[in-house]
Amino acid sequence: MLNTLVTGLATGALYAVVAMVFNIMYSTSKVLSLTTGHMAMLGGVFGAYLITGVGLSAWVALPLAMLIGAGFGLLTEFLAIRRVLAQGDEHLWVLSTLALGTIVQHLMALWWGTEPKPFPRLISQDFSAGPWDQKYWLPIGLAALAASGLALFYRRTLLGRVFTAVAEDPFAARARGIAVERVRSMSFALAGILGALAGFAAGQLTFAFFALGMWLTLSGFIALAAGGLGSNLGALVGGVLLGLLSAFSTYFFGAEHQQSVSVGLLLLVLLVKPAGLFGKGIVRHV
């Protein structure tokens, strides 16, 4: 049972961070990029490659992986969001981000291979640690760090306040002299960094696998809906809830009903609170 709890927390933490990445991009562009999960995948794959393939130390590989994540985030913004938002129909970004995600996934399939590959041990630890193994606690630690870090960032730093301003009202922000497009690019870069970090931290749990992207995007999406769009606390709670529900439903009902139970319960949450647990009341322009 303890194992189930810890596994649930760990996968939940991963989902939570992915949901937070969604939030970062959503807040400045009102777009739910389907490339979110692929950012984590890239972090995991390149982390494994840089450490085991190229032989760099984890201390060097981590910032490099985050750089790659930032690059991918900027690429997403440039290719899939900018033009689409400027002229396209509503929801066209679903297509463009999906297409970009597919491209990245298949490039990885061709280069990295289609088998899950091992992610190296980051801290030396014996494997018999059971529920205290780092593969569980790295993602959990990261989720806690990310949530508090983002909260600090948004509230205490100038750049964070600029992000918040753009999120709340882009027109007013522009009127105050904020370069909204540049802020958007920066937020996508930040999202990429956090996404890659998530993939790196959870690498030992998921292995370095090219097909992780879609699954993580989906799970993060569900976690975000349950927790409430736009709220990082909601992302944290939603993710942990999804992870725990999945783990416990597998334990009690077998894996056959895993998705039905966990997703079904989250649907019930939405019925009670349509904007998610911590979702802000939607302000509608009339």
């Binding site: 194992n3 399939a109 292995f207 056959e256």
Partner: protein
Amino acid sequence: MQLIKRAVVATVIFLTGLTAQGQTASSEPIRIGWMASLTGPLATAAIGIDAGVRFAVEEINASNGINGRKIELMTRDTAGDPNKAATFAQQLIHADKAVFILGPVNSGEALATVPLVARTGTPNIVIGAVEELTDPKKYPRAFRAINTTTQWLTAADDYVVNSLKKKKIALVGDTTGYGTTSVRTATDEIAKARAAGAEVIMPWSAATGVLARLLNARGDAGWDAPVIGHPSLMALPIKQLLNKPSYWDNVYGAGYVSTSYDASGKLPERTQVLLDKIRPKLGGKDVDILFWWIALGYDAVKVAEHGMRSAGSTDPAAIQKALENTQNFKAVLSTLSYGPDKRDGFPDDNMAIDVANTFKDGSFKLAPR
């Protein structure tokens, strides 16, 4: 002078015309359609089989093809999607005029394409192990080149009961089939199995991630119960995913006599021959994937070739008859025998159990009996 020149030109054109005609008739290629999930989540097997298929085709074409006609291999990547597989099957048969269909590799896709191909009357070499894929009455032109799942299960059960002398088996299946990549609570499955008094763990999943997690959970918990099951347990990627190499101890996989080293460390002759022939194409070093995949792909093409040679043509009915009358066809992975009511040609006596961590150059040592 002009007249002679004109006459020469006319003769040359006439003669080239004749020979060109002759060439087209006898050198029209034999189009074979090959469907495999080359970029799906379980692509490693498909890629290995694909290597064998391509090598066989090259070999046949290098020795003047089949009755002078070269084989044109048309590959389609189904990416694990049965819908794509169904449309590609249609495309290969109707638009690309394939006279033979090989595969698909994934059973999920094959379940969708085998009836479709059968409806068009095109011969089909089945590479999936699921029982329902062959049926002498419903799919008379579908011939299987691999063993069936029953054969795998029988071999594993036989080993557990008769050699390991154990009775309580924890069966671990993967209901999501090939698609999802979710992180299973392997630690709990192992704990539950152990608490229930299981003596042997038997996983039947082709997903190396799932299998590696099971082995890691077993090892981390310090449990030494033997693990026996799907051949993928013995694949090299598993070794890399294990926390400690010792976690691969006491692990057995369903394998084949033809890809196992005998007591003196030698492979059967036909296997060794193919291994030596194909090694340069694979990089010249030791083979680092399961060799039986390559052999399976090679055999699929060879069976098709045998059918067409014996029939003397690409007429589907003639090929069906020729294959029905095939007994003891000495392929590499096995010796196949079909019959008017028999479409599963893989012999039971080729089934074996191998020891996972004896992987060397694509093959294994037989498990002790």
